[in-house]
């Protein structure tokens, strides 16, 4: 039932061509090479270390792995991670 309703919602959003990050609460990750990443639509930080940053989204978690990771700025809307990003994983 739940899966069905989410599929319907996705189909509706798709057909109306609405932005998915707003309507579905999806995380938006913008990567520039492997040095910088901008993330929008998240809930908060779960873990922050130099090798790994774990973020909580609305529907999933995303984990940035790499070396010398740091947060350039952090606000309610968006954040910027810089460092050497080796891998982005969705959990």
């Amino acid at each position: 039932m739940n899966r069905n309703s989410s599929q319907k919602k996705e189909a509706l959003v798709e057909s109306l061509k609405l932005p998915k990050d707003i309507c579905m609460g999806a995380l938006k990750v913008t990567l520039t090479g492997n040095r910088e990443a901008w993330i929008e639509n998240y809930r908060g930080i779960l873990e922050y270390a130099e090798e790994q940053i774990l973020l909580q989204g609305k529907t999933c978690q995303v984990c940035f792995e790499g070396t010398r990771l740091s947060i350039d700025y952090y606000t309610n809307e968006d954040m910027k991670i810089s460092g050497c990003i080796a891998c982005v994983r969705y959990l």
């Binding site: 908060g44 779960l46 922050y48 740091s70 947060i71 700025y73 952090y74 606000t75």
Partner: protein, 409 residues
């Protein structure tokens, strides 16, 4: 730009450690507190936070069980109280600002460009009449009126523009550089002849008005009338009824001899610097010079003054100058010209004479130069055979009254 606003509002570098720093950051972002440059070192987090956000941290810190310590403070809110403690500095700053604001309301420099016929002195006295002077208030200046007055006062000025840039009054003008055409009316003119300026032979002759009295190949003497300004009008019986007077106009080229001679004394005095110099600095404000009193530096000396205006004052030009005055000692040493030196000196004079001839449109056909000793000096004498314009205007000789009638009879 963002950095500037951050600086203006003030921010802190803080250290956060304890139970859950991640939660601390999440709560901060939820409350709209901006955090940046977040770095983790071991269990300690370092980050920047703005001053307003820092004041709202207490409940977050209590809730998350973290500890916060200030590492450094940045920005104007922290800098200003420190600055205000230095009273003399602030007073100096205020005084400087006041000085510049007040002095920028006056005209401190007048720059004049584009004037050739109107000399600077003429213009200075004109400006004095108009009560425009260095040190006057900027708002007392009526630019439009001044422009009009320049054109009214100097008819040769065809265009004038007055601009006030900073404290500098720039006056640009354009003068009418085409020669003023004298309106000659043939009717009623007294008439003029063209007479020979030199003794010589006429090489070419183009007459535009008047009656030619000589022809190409003729030998004429200085003063001979070459083109007559009175045109005879004949009766049917070939007698002169009357004369019509015109200003004769012709291009006449003559071949004539011109000479040049000059002399140079045997010895001359040359300054020889001994190498001893004394430098003095001075400051000039307007026409007042501030310098240390000084005795006569050397027995015989000349002075080299190098003056400069501070660069900042270029736009806001207050009449303050500084400079150095270098006194250089020298001796007057007498030398004698060697024949080579004398020759080259005299040749220089000759070349400048030839250049002046060429400027007049004279063509040199033959030249004969002799450098010799005459008496107690070197002398140069030269003869040139030249082709050049030779004709000056002179009033037409009028026939005595009744002459025409007699002729007619």
């Amino acid at each position: 730009m963002i950095e500037f606003f951050k600086y203006m509002k003030g921010y802190l570098r803080i250290r956060v450690w304890g139970f859950s720093p991640e939660r601390f950051m999440n709560l901060c972002s939820n409350k709209g507190i901006l955090l940046w440059d977040i770095v983790r070192e071991g269990d300690v987090y370092y980050m920047c936070i703005n001053l307003k956000g820092f004041r709202a941290l207490r409940p977050i810190v209590r809730k998350t069980g973290t500890k916060v310590a200030i590492l450094e403070k940045y920005g104007l809110p922290f800098f200003l109280p420190k600055l205000l403690k230095r009273k003399v500095f602030v007073a100096g700053l205020l005084l400087a600002v006041t000085f510049w604001t007040v002095s920028s309301r006056y005209v401190w420099n007048i720059e004049l460009t584009g004037n050739y016929q109107v000399t600077n002195d003429m213009f200075d006295s004109f400006l004095q009449e108009q009560h425009v002077a260095i040190g006057m208030r900027r708002n007392a200046l009526d630019i439009k009126e001044l422009e009009k007055e320049i054109r009214r006062q100097f008819p040769q000025v065809t265009w004038a523009s007055v601009r006030l840039t900073g404290t500098k009054l720039r006056i640009d003008m354009k003068e009418n550089d085409t020669p003023a055409v004298e309106e000659r009316e043939n009717a009623g003119t007294e008439g003029s002849d063209l007479v020979a300026e030199y003794d010589g032979v006429i090489v070419s002759m183009i007459v535009r008005s008047g009656v030619p009295q000589v022809s190409v190949g003729d030998t004429v003497e200085a003063g001979t009338v070459m083109v007559d300004g009175k045109i005879p009008i004949y009766n049917d019986d070939a007698t002169v009824r009357e004369y019509r007077y015109v200003d004769s106009d012709a291009d006449i080229v003559m071949e004539y001899v011109c000479t040049f001679s000059d002399s140079l004394p045997f010895d001359y005095v040359k300054k020889e610097y001994t190498g001893r110099v004394k430098k003095k600095n001075y400051l000039r404000v307007g026409n007042h010079e501030l310098r240390l009193p000084q005795e006569r530096p050397f027995l015989v000396y000349d002075s080299l003054i190098r003056e400069s205006r501070p660069l900042l004052f270029e736009k806001l030009s207050v009449p303050v100058f500084w400079g150095t005055c270098t006194h250089r000692e020298y001796q007057n040493v007498e030398y004698e010209y060697t024949p080579q030196e004398a020759e080259s000196e005299l040749n220089k004079k000759l070349i400048s004479f030839i250049a002046s001839l060429e400027e007049k449109g004279v063509q040199i056909i033959e030249k004969n130069v002799k450098i010799d000793i005459s008496g107690d000096s070197w002398a140069i004498s030269s003869e040139f055979l030249v082709h050049g314009p030779a004709g000056k205007s002179a009033a037409t000789a009028k026939p005595e009254s009744g002459e025409t009638q007699e002729d007619a009879q």
